[in-house]
């Protein structure tokens, strides 16, 4: 029946038909307007269901016959599920996404996900106009939202997270992918970045690190840091070592930035957190590239920029970490000790006032830490200079002395350490350029003033050879007492059982004997009995 629309004065009427038996099911293919999809330009298209989810609903692969199978396994499994009420969703082909490939292999690819709830409350109809002018309405069976699929390479989740952490430092974001691609090409583009490239990547990283370290450019820093991230991103399986390398690279990058004095945002929380894990990683064997790092640490010494305590402690930790890596084994442990004590002392200093009694203990441990550090030198003092600034400026003042005594014998360092004690005691707010010698001179006259009595003791009666801070000698005790008044406790601390090799009882006895011999002056400071000598 053909019925044309009757044209009334202004409009037309059309008949609407809803065909009954259509074998075809109508669906909507929705594209985002921004994707600029024009179906009329398509020359060829292929569409199929994406069956990749079938596994999810499929049962575990147990052989149903032959080897490895059990008699009646299926039935038992089914009975078990029913008993427990486990209902697994069926894999409905109708609901699976579509994969659309336009214009062959080189063309665009789309994935179409089914939109739920379309047919629930209202029905959609497609009105098409037929040849006879009538409209035909077909119900819409399903709605699929098609999105284009990226053909360019993207970062994996881990890589993306790293880059995110670096987003404030990296200026040239385009180079990130470029570097990654170059890296892949160099490695011959094996199947996956992770597999089989660990060895190669490591070497590459070492070389890269070594090479990059020599360049001081800002951009090269970024390259290096991005390289690190890329290469380390590739090594997903590396875990600890990778994170460590990242941290070290980050630390390096950060240190370099500090050196240049570029304005940085405050340290990110994640970076702070990174350092916490470092202490665990100290025991892992590290690549040889870390040897380069002490070189970098040296120029750091020349930095006189006053730093906050946090910065200083962090840079300490950085330098610690770097040192650690080259001197494995014992040295690591000792450094750890040394590192920890300054950290502790820093904390102590922050908490305590600069008063004699308490500060003594901190100073002592400070000195011990100093001694330890003096043995391995080279790295710590410059950062510490800044760190102590707020807590005890006199101490900072004395620091510059220690680097100069770098290679001297331990007794010299002891002297320096002891002199620092004095300075701390006197709370001299001096600048950084005083030498220990100068300080000593200053102290000596002032130490003489309190008492006119001098008790020169013969050098005889030394129980052990001199010039060794490890031995509990009369000479050593006398030196201490000349410098400053000390309590017995302090003296004991000086001669720790570990260092002297004596047991605590023996130490006490020997010390008592020495004191009897020396017969020092007594003075009550802060309700404590202090001994001192004047010469």
């Amino acid at each position: 029946m053909t019925s044309l629309g009757n044209s009334s004065s202004t409009g037309t009427e059309y008949i609407v038909r809803v065909p009954k038996n259509t074998s075809k099911r109508y669906n909507i293919m929705a594209f985002n307007a921004g994707d600029k999809v024009n179906c009329s330009t398509w020359t060829q298209a292929r569409m199929e269901r994406d069956m990749s989810n079938r596994r999810m609903y499929g049962e575990e692969e147990t052989p149903e016959a032959g080897a490895g199978s059990e008699f009646g396994k299926k039935q038992r499994e089914e009975a078990r599920r029913k008993k427990y009420g486990i209902i697994t969703k069926e894999f409905k082909v109708e609901d699976q996404p579509w994969l659309l490939k336009v214009n062959g292999k080189a063309g665009r690819r789309f994935k179409g996900l089914k939109k739920g709830g379309v047919t629930e409350n209202a029905s959609y109809y497609i009105f098409t106009q037929c040849a006879d002018g009538a409209f035909e309405a077909f119900p819409v069976h399903g709605w699929y939202n098609f999105t284009p699929q990226a053909k360019h390479r993207t970062l994996t989740a881990e890589e993306a997270e790293e880059e995110w952490g670096r987003r404030n430092k990296v200026v040239n974001h385009f180079s990130i992918m470029l570097q990654r691609r170059l890296r892949e090409q160099e490695h011959g583009e094996e199947e996956e970045e992770v597999a089989g490239e660990k060895g190669g990547k490591k070497k590459k990283k070492k070389g890269g690190k070594g090479g990059d370290l020599r360049i001081h450019d800002l951009e090269d820093d970024l390259e290096m840091s991005s390289d690190e991230s890329d290469s380390s991103g590739g090594e997903d399986g590396e875990g600890k070592s990778k994170s460590k390398k990242d941290i070290s690279s980050k630390a390096k990058a950060k240190k370099k930035k500090k050196r240049k004095g570029s304005d940085q945002e405050g340290l990110e929380d994640s970076d702070d957190g990174d350092f916490e894990g470092l202490e665990v990683d100290y025991m892992s064997d590290e690549s040889s590239s870390e040897e380069e790092e002490p070189e970098k640490a040296k120029p750091n010494k020349g930095d006189d920029v006053p730093k906050g305590i946090d910065e200083a402690s962090e840079s300490e930790e950085e330098s610690e970490e770097e040192n650690k890596n080259e001197e494995e084994g014992k040295e690591e442990e000792e450094e750890e000790e040394g590192k920890k004590t300054p950290v502790q002392t820093e904390k102590k200093k922050k908490k305590e006032k600069e008063s004699s009694g308490e500060s003594d203990s901190s100073e002592d441990s400070d000195i011990e830490g100093e001694t330890a550090s003096a043995l391995f030198m080279k790295k710590r003092t410059p950062p510490k200079r800044g760190g102590r600034g707020s807590a005890g400026s006199s101490r900072t003042g004395s620091r510059p002395g220690t680097p100069s005594i770098d290679n001297a014998a331990t007794s010299n360092t002891l002297r320096a350490a002891a002199s620092k004690l004095e300075q701390g005691k006197r709370q001299a707010a001096t600048s950084s350029s005083d030498t220990p010698a100068a300080k000593r001179l200053k102290m000596e006259p002032s130490s003489q003033s309190p008492s006119g009595k001098s008790t020169p003791q013969p050098a005889s009666g030394k129980s052990t050879p001199s010039s060794s801070d490890v031995q509990l000698t009369e000479d050593a005790v006398r030196r201490y007492l000349i410098r400053k008044p000390m309590t017995t406790k302090d003296l004991l601390k000086k001669f720790q059982t570990k260092r002297t090799g004596l047991s605590s009882e023996q130490t006490v006895n020997v010390l008592a004997q020495i004191l009897k011999k020396l017969n020092p002056e007594r003075k009550n400071i802060n309700d404590k009995m202090h001994f001192y000598l004047t010469e």
Partner: protein, 253 residues
């Protein structure tokens, strides 16, 4: 299994066929489902004075609303439905069809979106009221019974199922031991099919008394008390060649 990787028929797409996507209320689509003959459901009026107004009017015979329970004919669906036209703006919509033979065709592009709205009339309001009433009815209802139901279960001296079972048992009798060789044959063929068996299953397959069967099994098989296939019997390693898919009969005693 149908081949889903189809070449899409793009003829209509190239012609740039335009279609309308219209959202239609549920009751209306239900009425349309009742259409007879060629499926004519109504008329579409497009007026072009100044603004373009589109309106759909439902055919008379289709206004009868089928409702459960009372007042079937008092409520009728409204006839006039103006269309509210909308733009296709943020999305590019195409229509594709899937035929029963899994042939995918692009039918065209959506050029206009519309919503079919019922003209607010009394008939519509009544219809809606009816719908709401129906939807608020609970699916399940508790009814109070006057008398207890006694027709379901009646006491029986012995259930039919039981009787049959006992008869079967009598017929079968106790399991008799057959020759060892025969039993071994049966076992080997069973183990060809599956690797692990429960003792109960084996008893059923071989129809041998348990003790006898266990003796035989101890000779040729091993019992897994732990592991993924717990409490199952399997053949001793020297007796099976599962990789090759064949079974060695092994040495028979």
């Amino acid at each position: 299994m149908s081949d889903k990787g189809q070449d899409v028929d793009l003829t209509r797409a190239k012609q740039n066929t335009g279609v309308w996507l219209v959202k239609v209320p549920k009751y209306l689509s239900q009425q349309w489902g009742k259409a007879s003959g060629r499926g004519e459901v109504g008329k579409l009026k497009i007026a072009n004075q100044g603004k373009t107004t589109v309106s759909f009017s439902l055919n008379e015979e289709l206004t009868v609303v089928e409702s459960s329970g009372e007042t079937a004919s008092s409520v009728r669906a409204p006839r006039e439905h103006p269309f509210s036209m909308q733009s296709v703006g943020g999305q590019t919509l195409a229509v594709f069809t899937e035929s029963s033979l899994d042939q995918i065709t692009i039918e065209g592009m959506v050029v206009q979106r519309a919503e079919c709205r019922p003209a607010v009339q009394e008939s519509y309001v009544k219809l809606k009221k009816l719908q709401i009433e129906e939807s608020t009815k609970p699916l399940r209802l508790s009814q109070r019974l006057e008398k207890a139901v006694t027709t379901n279960y009646k006491p029986v001296s012995n259930h039919t199922y039981n009787v049959e079972y006992e008869k079967k048992k009598k017929e079968e009798g106790k399991r008799a031991r057959s020759d060892k060789e025969k039993v071994l044959e049966m076992l080997f063929s069973a183990f060809e099919k599956h690797q692990y068996y429960n003792i109960k299953n084996l008893v059923e397959i071989t129809k041998q008394p348990v003790i006898y069967l266990k003796e035989i099994l101890r000779e040729i098989g091993v019992y897994n008390s732990r592991g993924p296939h717990k409490s199952t019997w399997e053949l001793k390693p020297e007796y099976h060649h599962y990789q090759e898919g064949e079974e060695d009969e092994g040495t028979m005693e």
